[in-house]
Structures are given as C-alpha cells and as structure tokens.
C-alpha cells in the first residue's frame, strides 16, 4: 500500500498544507542575498529582522486566532529588559541562552495574562492588553534603581554569540544572528500553524461557537497560542536589546504596539510571511518619511493607517495581486490570507 493510506486524513491534509514551496525557498534566498547586496545597511536590516519576528508573534494571535492586542509591546519590553538585566548583572552572559531566558520570562507573563485576555468582550480585551503594557511601563519607570527609569538601562555589554562571534559596530554579527533566530523561530511557527493545533486555531477564529460545538477546547487553545506568541515577542525584544545594548521605557510604548499592528496589516496576517514583508515595507516607509520630515514622520505613518483602512485591505490585496512580485503569493503562498475572502478582510 502507498504511504497515503497509512496516514490519517488529518495528517495527510496537514502534510499537504505544510508542504515547503519553491516560493518560500526563493524568499529566504532573497534574505540571504540581502546580506551581500546591502552590506552597508546592516543596522537597518537588523532592525527589520527583529521587527519581523515581533510581527510574526502578533500574527500568531491576530492572524491565526483573531485576538486584537493593543499592548503587545508588553512582552517585547519584558524580553528587552530581561536580557538587559541578565547581561548587566552577569547572570547569563551568553546571548543565545539569555535570549531563551528572556523569551521564557515573557512567556510566563503571557501565560498569566492570557487568562485575563481570553475573558471578557472584545473591547475589554483591547483595554486589558493596553493596560498591561502601560502597567509594565509604569513599573519600569518607578523602579528606576533596577531598570534605570526614564534614562533606560545602559552600561552593559553583550558577550559574543556562542562565545565566538563578537558584535561589531557595523552590525554584521547582529544581522546574521537576528536572521538566524528569525528563521529558526519562523520554522517553528510554520510547523505550529500547519499542525492540527494551528487548524483548530483557524476554526476558532472563523467561528468560535462552531469550533466549541465540534469539541475544540477554545479557551485552552487561545491560552496556548497567546503564551507562544508572548515567547516570540520576548525574543524579539531581547534581540532588540542585544543588538542595540540599550533598553529604554519606549519598549513598552503604545506607539510600538500600534506600529506593530500597522506592520502586520501592511503585510497581511494569517500566512506568516506577512509580518516579514510588512516589516520590510514599514522600515522603508519610515526611512523615506523621516528623510523628508524627521520630526513629523508620525504624520505620514498615521496617513498610511488611514489610507489602508479607507481603501480597504481586501481591495488593496486585489491590486497587489496584479503586481508581479506578489504573484508568488497568489501561486500558493497565500493559502491562509486568501482563503475565504470574507475572513481575509477581517484578518
């Protein structure tokens, strides 16, 4: 008998969905190519890499589970301060271990707060996520003897990665390091969302009542994905601190959470690449805007928000599909994003 008969229908289906496509290989080859093409812009590329990871973390809860969060920076901040404090007090010097530790700290916070988030209405969910981020910012501000308060946490150095690769001022190590972390966590997330677990998340997102009726433990699924997402955000924050050797109060800021929403919306949620593409576009936009008007680039970012909503994301997606480079997505990558036009509109 062939292999297909030994697989259960679910396994066969997830294997089909999760098959690695050539477009994805091409995408990651582009990422590798960027190392050689933009060798004078490593610092920006590094920022894009951790921003992409951060957006990936939001994609897990927003794109797949449908939880709108206004305070995802909370976990980013915990990761950032976590890694900074570990380095400053010499508890864990090695960056990769510190990264995991900081991710775990954010994960614990994510697990604890997930119980608050799954409860309540949509509106109170927005409030609770926003409130948690503000609360942490306030804590970091008040306990200035630990966190450095308003001035931020400074005066620590990050040890070489794995004891071998020193962080250099051009950001070459930082970029490679962030990209490798992004890639590894991306693979894990890809595995996760294409598993039966990921499918059940989509079921919850599409119709919570129906998902409950067919026996999916909705609350437990949401808690689990929120916790994982917090880990990802924590790692992104840790990467931020490790590559900049700085953690300041603005890691918790509302603007950071808001920008993150924008990034995911630009890239599109629910197919994992959206966060990365969004991060690239966002950073380019930011560069352009701040070169035109350094002080007022917030205005232009705001305008992007407004235009995206007014034009409508569904319509933009249709336009984007006409463009050649996004043709790739149409050929297969956009399964999650394109699947079911009405859901796609709501992300």
């Amino acid at each position: 008998m062939s292999d297909m008969t030994t697989l259960s229908p679910v396994a066969a289906s997830t294997a089909r969905i999760g098959r690695w496509r050539w477009q994805e290989t091409a995408f990651w080859l582009l990422v590798v190519a960027s190392y050689f093409l933009f060798s004078d812009r490593y610092l920006i590329l590094t920022e894009i890499a951790w921003l992409a990871l951060f957006a990936l973390s939001l994609d897990l809860i927003l794109g797949y589970a449908g939880i709108v969060s206004l305070g995802h920076a909370a976990f980013f901040g915990v990761g950032a301060y976590g890694v900074g404090l570990l380095a400053k007090h010499g508890i864990i010097e090695e960056p990769v271990l510190a990264l995991l530790a900081a991710g775990l700290m954010a994960m614990v916070l994510g697990f604890v707060t997930s119980f608050l988030v799954i409860r309540g209405t949509d509106l109170s969910r927005l409030m609770v996520t926003l409130g948690i981020a503000l609360l942490l910012r306030e804590l970091a501000n008040r306990f200035s003897d630990i966190t450095g308060g308003f001035d931020g946490l400074q005066g620590f150095t990050i040890a070489p990665v794995l004891g071998l690769f020193e962080f250099d001022i051009f950001g070459r190590t930082g970029f490679v390091y962030c990209t490798v972390v992004l890639f590894v966590l991306f693979l894990a997330a890809r595995r996760l969302v294409n598993s039966p677990f990921g499918l059940s998340l989509r079921a919850v997102h599409n119709n919570r009542l129906r998902a409950e009726a067919i026996g999916i433990p909705v609350d437990r699924r949401l808690i689990a994905v929120y916790t994982v997402s917090a880990f990802y955000a924590g790692v992104a924050g840790a990467l931020f601190t490790q590559t900049t050797a700085l953690a300041s109060l603005d890691v918790f800021s509302f603007e950071r959470s808001a920008d993150l929403l924008l990034i995911l919306v630009i890239g599109g949620g629910g197919y994992l690449y959206g966060g990365i593409i969004g991060a690239v576009v966002f950073k380019i936009l930011q560069e352009i805007f701040s070169s035109i008007t350094p002080q007022y680039w917030l205005f232009w970012i705001g305008l992007v928000f407004v235009v995206i909503v007014l034009v409508g994301r569904e319509r933009m997606r249709r336009w984007a599909r006409a463009a050649p480079e996004v043709l790739l997505r149409r050929l297969g990558l956009a399964r999650g994003a394109g699947g079911g036009t009405s859901r796609g509109a709501e992300l």
Partner: protein, 289 residues
Amino acid sequence: MTNFLTILFDGVAYGMLLFVLASGLAVTLGLMNFVNLAHGAFAAFGGYVCAVLVNRSGVPFFVALPLAFAAAALAGVVAERTLFRHLYRRSELEQVLFTIGFVFMAVAATDYVMGSSQVFINLPDVLQGQIDLFGVGIGRYRLMIIVICGLLTLAIQGTLARTRFGARLRAAVDDPRVASGLGINVPQVFAFTFAFGCGLAGLGGALGAEILGLDPYFPLKFLIYFLIVVTVGGSSTITGPFMAALVLGIADVAGKYYVPKLGAFVIYALMIVILIWRPHGLFGRTMAR
C-alpha cells in the same frame, strides 16, 4: 483632615473634568460600538483653539470656552461626515487602525502648527488662587470646573433621559434598522451625537489645559484615561461613566499624593481587576449583541 478634604476636592474636580472629556466617547464607544481611539484629538483641538484665542487674540477666557466647544464640535461633524461614518460597520480592528492613524496625524500636525512644548492658557485673575472654606483650601479654578462640569453632566443626563432627541438616540443605538423604519434619521442622529461629544471633549480640553497640561501628545497620553472611564463605567447609562470618572479622578489624585512611588500603577491595576471581574463595566448591563 483638611488636607484630606482638599485632596478629595481636587479629585472630584479632576474626575468631573475627565467625565466631560470622555462623555462623548461614552456615547460613540459605549452606545454606538465605535472604537474611537482618536477622541482625545478633538479635546486637544478645543484646548488649542482656546489657548490661541485667549493668549494671542485676547479673547476673554469665558468667551473662549464656548468657542472651543463650537470649534471642536465643528471639527467633529466634519470628521464624522467625511471619515468616521464609513467605519461604523467595519470590524473592530479596522476601527482601531483607522483611529490610531488619525490620532498620529493629529499629534504630528499639532506639533507642526503649534510646536512641541506645553501650552498654558492665561487665566483671568478671578480664577487664580484659593478660597478658604471652613478651613479647607479650595482652588478657584477647580471650583469653577466642578460647577461647569456638574451643570453639563445634568444637562447630558437630562437630554438623554428626557428629551425627544435622547429617545431617538437610544432607539437608534438599540436597533438602527427598526429606528430608521420608524422614520428616525439614524445617520443624522449619530452625526449630531458625535459632534456634540467632540464639542464636549473640546470644552474639556480647554478647561483641562491648566490641570492636565496641553501638548501635542495629549490625545495619546490621556487615551487610556478616557477608555477607562468608558469601559469601567459601562455603557448602559451615562451615570456609570460619571461614577467611574469620579472614582478615577479621586483615586488618581489621592494615589499621587499618598503613594507617589506607585504613580499611575494603581489606576491601571484597578482597571484590569475591574474588567476581569466585570467585563461590561461596573455599572454595565450584559449586552445582547
């Protein structure tokens, strides 16, 4: 003891100010289910209009207040008719995105036009200093705030509960389709309500410039406070947000005085606890939809 009473008084003034600032949001967010994170932008607009009128044109403060109301209401009606109207039926995420964008643009535009530093409104002498009442020091400015905001609260409550317009609004909110079937011009009712709420926010911004401080980031800084008032207060009545605003004002002033180390921490923690305990707000009903 007298110290305690002064704090209580300041807290009440602060709370009433927050109520006037957030009451428009209570209607749009609580009743119309429109997540408007840009509400503070209209408050800041009113505040800046008042500041420009008083400081540059020499308009008397008490004349500038209604003008700030009118300007913010006008800005509200323009924004509602051209932009926000299209979003009532959109998903929550899109409302969030749009209004965040709007508030970002407002912040940057204010920065561009008015500069980034904090703006103070020159107050008339009548409003400066304190009155000594039974040994309790009472700031004149705060007394004025309590009087104005108290009257406004009564007016809002009366309008919603007793007038024909209030009945139309409640009907339009409960079931827009049936309401329009009965001949109520629902979009008009919403536009008017939105404008009035923005006007109130503008008035609140003008009144609050002295106490809250007015700078371009005002809409973002106080966003959480407005949202707390509405979500903690619940959306079924206007009394709920009023009580929530009072509690918030008193807790904030008292917290800053007695436990300065914790700062706003108490407020946020309290909000989260209340929302966990009662997701529809302290005074809310369970919404059918």
